[in-house]
Every structure is written in C-alpha cells, then in structure tokens.
Symmetry: C2
Subunit: 320 residues, 2 copies
C-alpha cells in the first residue's frame, strides 16, 4: 500500500554543539519519505523554488521515492529554516524561517499521489491538511503532525483536521497545549474523543502518539497504553527531523501491513520501527545517516531495543 | 536481608493544583522505608525534634518499620519543607526549608541498623553518607541518592561517596550536572568508571538508575541499558516523595533476593517494582496512598506495566 506525504521540503542551516551545516536537505516531508521508503512506496507532495538542486531530488530518488509531486515554483525560493541547539540538544532556537514558496502553497496531488491508500499530513497549515484529506476520502490510514504555531493561531482548523484523521503524532508538550490538559493520558483521551463534523471524512482519531524526544514515545488508544524509550545513543549529533523520521517509520510500518487490523501488535511494531529509524536520524546531520542506512542495520537495532525493554513480569509475593 | 536507610524524616507542607496539606509526614527516609517495607525489614535512622508526633511514628510502625534509630533531639525542631508545584507538576518551587535538627546531625546507627546487609543513603550531606557507609563496610548492596545542592557545594565529598557505593539513583538532570555530560548514557558510563580510593569501602558503582519523573526511569550498567515508562495515571495529585518511594521499591526488591546475583533479571524486576510503588505514591498527598496500599494492588500493576511495555520484537524484512 503506497504512502503519500504532504509537507515541507526545505533547506536547513543547523548548528549543534557538534558542528554546523549550511543549507542541507531537510523538511518534514523529506525526512518522513526517506524513513518510510524502507517500508513502502512513497510519493512526496510539496513545493520547492528555483534554488532547489537536482542533487537533493536525487537523494529521494535513490531511495525510490516518487518525486513527481514536488512542484517547482518559478521565481520562488525553497523553504528555509535556520536553528541552533543548546548543549543538551533539548532546547533549540529558531534563528530564521523563510517561508518562500510555502507562502501561498496549494497542494496539488498527482494521480500517483491520489492513488495511495495511506496518507501522512506533515506539519503544514491545518486548512491545507484538510484540503488534502478531502481529496483522499477513502484512504485506509491517515496520520497528522502539527506544531505549537497552529495551536496558537489556527486552533479551530487544527481541531477540525485532527477530527478527520485516524492517528495524531505530536510532541507531548504540543498534546498538552492542544488540550489544556497537563496529564499525558488525559490529553490523549481528550483527542481520542474528537469526532468529525457531519459529512467530513474519517471516524475520528483512534491512535495518539506522543513523541517525547530523548525519553522516547508513548502510544495511547481507547483501550491501551504502550511506551518505548528512545534507543540509547552515546552521541547524538543533530535532532533535526527526528520527529518526522519517527513518523515515517511509524506510518511506513503500518502501510507495509495492509491486511493487519490496526491493533496493538501492529501499532507496537510500528512504534519500535519508528524509534529505531529516529535513532539513526540523530546520529549525523540532516539526512546524512539515513541516506546510507541499510535494512540490516534497522533489524539489528530492533532486536537490541527489544532486549532493552523486556522484563520477566512476574510480581513478587510481597508483605501485606 | 534487612535494609537500613539513613536520611530525612520531615514535615512537608505541599501545594499542588489539586489541593494542599500542612505539615504532613514526609522525608526521604520515610518514603523510602514505607515502600521498602513491602519487601524486607527496614530500619530508619534519622533525627526528629520535640514537635514530631507519635502518630507519625505509628505510621511507620504499622508497616513493621524499625524506628529505634529515629533520634529525638530535645529542644529541636523536625526538618520542614514547604513547596508548591506548577500546573503540570513538573516544576516545583521551594517556598521554605528549615533544617532544624538536621543541622549538626550525626548519624548514630543502632545495633539493629548496623546488622542490615543492604544500605540506602538517602539525600543528605555526602560526608555523612560516607560516615555511615564506613560503619557498614561489609554491606552486600549499598545505594545512594543525592541532589543538585551537593553537586554545587560538596562535589568532591559526593564523588567520594559515590565511588564507595554499588548503585547510584539520581534524577537524570542531576546525573548530567554531576558529570558535565548532557548525554544520559555517557553520563552514566562516566559514573560507572569511578573507583573508591585505596582503603575505602566498595568496588565502585556498577549500577546507575536515572529517574526521569513522568517519563519513567532508565537503568545503565557496564554491559546493558534498560528503561521503563512511568506507570500511566490520568490523575497525579502530589509527586513529593516519588523518587524516594521508587528507591524503596528498587532497593527493597534487591534486598528480597539475597541469593540472586546483581544481574539483569534482578535489576529489571527491581525497576518494575520501583516504578509501580512510585505510581501509587503520587496518587495522593504525601504518604496517604502508600499507608493503605495492599500487596495485591502492587502485583496487579506489575502485570499491567508488563503488558504495556511488551512488543513482538521481530524486525520486518525491509527494503534495502
């Protein structure tokens, strides 16, 4: 089952305590697509400017990504982000954001993109997310990411967008901000209660994934809770794109299992693969590590992650 | 194998978004002892003032805790802490701390306390921790907690104290501050490399536990990594004492297995029981919930926690 992702394609300038890179390939749709390409066919939809290089397109092509939906806007400039991370990589400051071709972006889905039955709406203006969603009403699985900006300035459209997808993948701080509930479980349950308006697509979210950065991620459904730590690394070089890479692993894994119901076993496998993909992403700058990642390396870390999270589970007979 | 804990016995005034309590029973040694009492005999060593009530002593006695080592200082006042938590319970402000009888405290170990072979040095001045440690050189397992204050003003004594114990249980932010390493794994490995001075007790720490608050806890040894999420709760009322309750569950579980080597299986069981004990602690103010906790409730949450952390672990065959 192929996957369509709509979102940013960007140049990122990033400084971390370990070095810096200027105008490297980035953007949510790119990170997502590279990760998801290990699981299924992926079509990317998003705009770039005249300044976007063939070399960057080639990175996506080399992983089999369908780049037909990358729209080149004549006279435009590619979305640009410049950020710096603090010493522990948990704080980051945005030095500059230039929307460029993203200003006035209207997603146009190619026939190939429209034929996917899994859809990921990366972090873009919620009304655009809804517009894309409306064009793929029969998609089997639709997931969405967003950010604090939209919670602040486009809350109602975002709530509508969320009510029309199956799965919400957000940072835990964003989940709290979105719902006004400081408790993660309560916040997730609130999101799980939202339903689409009459005539709108979908049945309302049934899966909430809270990304917790270096602490890992939690999965909440109406019936269950599951959590995994981040894969432990002694050296993290650049967290940029980790969340989108995580989403690519998560959604990719689900897309690769078209016949399995959206139950615990499938979702937990998706969480594990998402965690492992994200762990590779942060080991080097931008897409550098994922570009040369091998399937066997992923499999090895899945086995490691499994070994790091299991315990016997038999409770001890205790004193009253 | 019985356990001795040396640390604070306190009155806490606490305000959280869910209410407040004045001068309730608290203190690291108390929270630790109540939790550990589900696993083994526990002796508490620490000072109180004239103002400390029989009612509070009775709470410990009712859980079988040996209170002979609670030293009542005539004319003194019991250690007092007053704190307020922010809306998400992750930030807290100390309004007042009155050391009272803790000023000039010299731990005196009763014969009963000295005969324990498991020792927990709760958060007190590191030179006092070393003094107690020196009196129990043959203890089979010694663990230590500390805090940012001692890292700031008594770093060298704290490093010496750590080098003389088997296990360090700290908040992850404290581990980072202590080692100057922002990466948790690197910070833990640094601590695991510390060795006692010639003639000092112990062989150096072989277990590091990083408490991560609402995110759970991680366990690092020289050979392995393990992590558990916090037990998910929709309502957390008061986090005060959660870390000490966690330590009580962790050390208690190890003490209850005198014949098992300090290997992964034992340590992971300890992590699970610690996580569950802490989850009960935060459900109500102070010691209220733990006071009426039943062994069967612990067993039930251990099974739940197990179910929430398992996944199949078979990696998917991926695209190169």
């Amino acid at each position: 089952m192929s996957i369509t992702v709509v979102g940013s394609i960007a140049y990122d300038t990033v400084k971390t305590p370990f070095g810096e890179r200027e105008r490297m390939l980035g953007g949510a749709a790119v990170h997502f697509a590279l990760a998801a390409s290990f699981f299924e066919d992926v079509a990317v939809v998003g705009p770039v400017g005249d300044d976007f290089g063939e070399e960057q397109i080639a990175v996506m092509r080399s992983r089999g990504v369908d780049v037909e939906g990358i729209e080149r806007i004549a006279g435009g400039r590619t979305f640009f982000w410049h950020g710096e991370y603090g010493w522990d990589l948990n704080s980051r400051e945005t030095i500059d954001t230039q929307l460029g071709v993203f200003e006035g972006f209207e997603p146009k889905l190619t026939a190939g993109a429209l034929s996917s039955d899994v859809l990921f709406l990366a972090n873009i203006q919620p009304d655009l997310q809804r517009q894309v969603r409306a064009q793929m009403p029969d998609a089997r699985f639709v997931a969405l990411d967003s950010m604090n900006l939209w919670i602040d300035i486009a809350r109602d459209p975002l709530l509508a967008a969320i009510s029309e997808v199956d799965c919400v993948i957000l940072n835990d701080a964003e989940l709290r901000q979105l719902t006004g509930k400081p408790n993660l479980v309560a916040a997730a349950r609130e999101v799980l209660s939202w339903r689409p308006a009459r005539g709108a697509p979908g049945r309302g979210p049934s899966v909430v994934v809270a990304k917790q950065g270096e602490y890992g991620a939690a999965l909440v459904t109406r019936e269950s809770f599951f959590a995994l730590p981040a894969y432990p690394l002694e050296t993290v070089i650049d967290p940029t794109g980790a969340g989108d890479t995580f989403a690519g692993g998560f959604v990719g894994y689900i897309a690769a299992h078209p016949r399995e119901p959206l139950g615990e076993e499938l979702l937990r496998g998706a969480m594990a693969h998402a965690t492992v993909l994200a762990s590779f992403n942060v080991e080097e700058f931008g897409t550098e590590r994922i570009e040369r990642l091998q399937a066997a390396e992923i499999a090895e870390r899945i086995r490691d992650l499994h070994a790091m999270t299991q315990f016997a589970g038999a409770p001890l007979a205790l004193r009253g």
